[in-house]
């Protein structure tokens, strides 16, 4: 932090009239700093005048650089942005590029053969089990998305239009799950749905059943329920934001033009809230397709999803290239589906008049 701000400082501090008081520590520090900088400049200038043909222009170089920095918003912006950008390039972009590279390589024992090959992808397409898991993941996530958005919409509508006082409390209540441990929230379903879990033992002690129900846990339904619950609150915020933005006078105008409550909703409110709906759907569909924890906890053999397959390739089998190819194809598949979905929904809504 200090480094970057001092970069700005060094660029901005000329030998110009410094109006600071005498004797304050910061000023002394600054002047020492400036002295040091000037020495560098002098050295640089000497160097330049020897080594370059147009040495006459070189004394102005640092001044020009400083002037450029002072004048350019973009330069100042990029300097400030660079720590974040560099972090993200190093920790996000570089790893993703490596992931793509790996998917074109081959695992040979503990080593990786870096000759380019499309074999991993061929392997994926040819092995029916992989394709099946991919489609199963998509279907389950699709179902989760549908359920979650369907439930979240009325809730968001209620907060946007129905709550007058203490909206803030409702919003906090709905954001808390977003920040708290996903692992623990998924885990709570394991103890609820388990063979000796909350539901079974509760029903038995109520006398409703004699034997525990074995179909509750370790299947796709359990995964869908758990995911729908875990992501419930995520859908509300985007939908709420888009609903809240709707100008209330538009509804008055629709009423004025003869629309009843339902017609107003379908012809005005719903189309205008669509960006929120699409956003919510994407926000749920994308991470749930790639979810690892829930299928691993409550999925059982039939409820495994693509992420579990990837995890196995990376941490159990040790075929990183195949795991990478799985990850890349899953991401690409999901991206294509998301785009198709968003387009289709928008086209559908355009028919509303």
């Amino acid at each position: 932090m200090i480094f970057w701000d001092f970069f700005g400082l060094c660029m901005a501090n000329g030998g110009n009239s410094h109006t600071g008081g005498v004797g304050c520590g910061r000023c002394q520090f600054l002047s020492r700093w400036r002295l040091a900088r000037n020495r560098v400049v002098v050295r640089a200038r000497k160097h330049l005048s020897v080594s370059s043909d147009h040495g006459g222009a070189s004394p102005g170089f640092f001044d020009r650089l400083r002037a450029f920095y002072l004048r350019s918003d973009a330069a100042k912006g990029y300097v400030l942005l660079s720590p974040v950008m560099l972090t993200m390039i190093a920790l996000l972009a570089a790893p993703l590029i490596l992931l793509v590279l790996y998917s074109f390589w081959t695992q040979v024992g503990l080593k990786v053969d870096t000759n380019w090959t499309g074999d991993r992808y061929r392997e994926l397409i040819e092995k029916q089990a992989y394709v099946d898991i991919f489609w199963r993941s998509i279907q389950m996530s699709g179902l989760v998305t549908l359920v979650t958005v369907g439930l979240a919409y009325p809730m968001a509508y209620f907060v946007a239009f129905g709550v007058k006082k203490n909206k803030f409390i409702w919003l906090i209540l709905l954001t808390i799950p977003f920040w708290t441990s996903y692992l623990l929230r998924a885990f709570s379903w394991k103890i609820i749905l388990g063979y000796n879990g909350v539901i079974n033992s509760g029903l038995i002690s109520l006398g409703a059943i004699q034997e525990p129900l074995s179909f509750l846990l370790y299947n796709q339904t359990a995964v869908v329920i758990t995911l729908a619950h875990a992501y419930a609150a995520f859908a509300i915020l985007p939908i709420y934001v888009s609903l809240e933005k709707i100008d209330r006078t538009l509804l008055e105008a629709a009423a004025d033009l003869g629309d009843g409550a339902w017609a107003r909703f379908w012809r005005v409110t719903f189309p205008l809230s669509l960006p929120g709906v699409i956003g919510a759907a994407v926000l749920i569909f994308v991470p749930t397709t790639g979810d690892y924890v829930t299928p691993a906890l409550v999925g059982g053999p039939t409820g495994q999803m693509i992420a579990n397959l990837i995890q196995i390739q990376f941490l159990k089998i040790g075929d990183w290239p195949l795991g990478s190819a799985l990850a890349i194809s899953a991401m690409a598949g999901v991206a294509i589906l998301v785009m198709l979905f968003a387009t289709a929904l928008q086209l559908a809504v355009r028919r509303i008049r």
Binding site: G8, M85, T180, S205, P287, G290, A327
Partner: protein, 276 residues
């Protein structure tokens, strides 16, 4: 919809009371299942099952007698602390840059920074694993910290951007106009005014890091973080009650921190409106 008296017309789009019932049911759906963790953590039985037997705190004692758990807790606290400070500092830079300067390509850059929020964590986990492996670093708490910084920086930047967005740019200009350098202007004006956002960002990034499981699962070596440790204990049925106790504590602590963070953030914005 019922008829309203003429002097208090219903606001357009006002839902009926049916929706309120739905909303309450929804909240129960969100929070209900989670409440079984604290409930059974006080139940004197090794089985998580009804009927409840008697009240006990022994699972909590058991949880805290577990030295490995304490070690994992300390690791998580350390990682969370470092991650919170680092990503908040990074986020502050980013937020200042995008709110104060017009930068060509800003939309694209911001989108890139926010990307981790939209990529499944498993992908982030394996790609970081590949990177760390390629660079030749061995897995440890340091690699976990690095992964968490990547994950938390977008959160910090989002929280801080919205904070900085709200305040009058001429306040900083006034400071420089009165003779302060950009560096001291940051400390005398920007920092105090952004303080609620900074506190909020510190708390939220801490929670995200503290609760994060999947990245740590891929990036932790021999020293687990708390969620990774809990994960490893889930296999042992006799450990279940103490995991419940631990989980209940974590959930409650997270909730408290989130509420405080959001409250501080809100507090800041209402003050802001009067101030500017």
């Amino acid at each position: 919809m019922s008829a309203k008296p003429a002097h208090a017309p219903a606001r357009m789009g006002d839902p009926g009371s049916g929706l309120k019932l739905f909303a309450i049911a929804y909240l129960i759906f969100i929070y209900g299942p989670v409440l079984f963790l604290p409930l059974f953590s006080f139940n004197d039985s090794i089985f998580v099952a009804f009927p409840l037997t008697s009240f006990t705190t022994k699972w909590y004692e058991q949880a805290f007698a577990d030295e490995k758990m304490i070690g994992a807790l300390i690791s998580s606290l350390q990682v969370g602390g470092i991650v919170a400070v680092t990503s908040t500092i990074l986020g502050m830079f980013g937020a200042k840059a995008v709110t104060r300067y017009q930068i060509p390509g800003q939309g694209l850059i911001t989108a890139t920074i926010m990307l981790p929020l939209f990529i499944p964590e498993i992908i982030l986990g394996i790609s970081l694993l590949i990177l760390i492996n390629s660079v030749g670093i061995s897995l440890s708490l340091i690699t976990v910290t690095i992964g968490h910084i990547m994950l938390c920086t977008p959160f910090a930047m989002a929280v801080l951007s919205s904070r900085l967005h709200g305040f009058d740019r001429s306040l900083e200009e006034a400071s420089m106009d009165l003779g302060e350098t950009p560096w001291m202007t940051f400390w005398r004006v920007t920092f105090p005014l952004a303080a609620p956002g900074i506190v909020s960002s510190l708390l939220l990034t801490f929670i995200v890091s503290f609760d994060e499981f999947l990245l740590s699962f891929f990036l932790a070596g021999q020293e687990p973080t708390l969620p990774v440790y809990i994960w490893s204990q889930l296999r042992f049925p006799n450990k279940l009650p103490s995991v419940l106790a631990l989980g209940a504590l974590i959930l409650i602590a997270s909730c408290v921190l989130v509420v405080v963070a959001e409250w501080v953030r809100q507090l800041g914005t209402s003050e802001q409106k009067v101030g500017v």
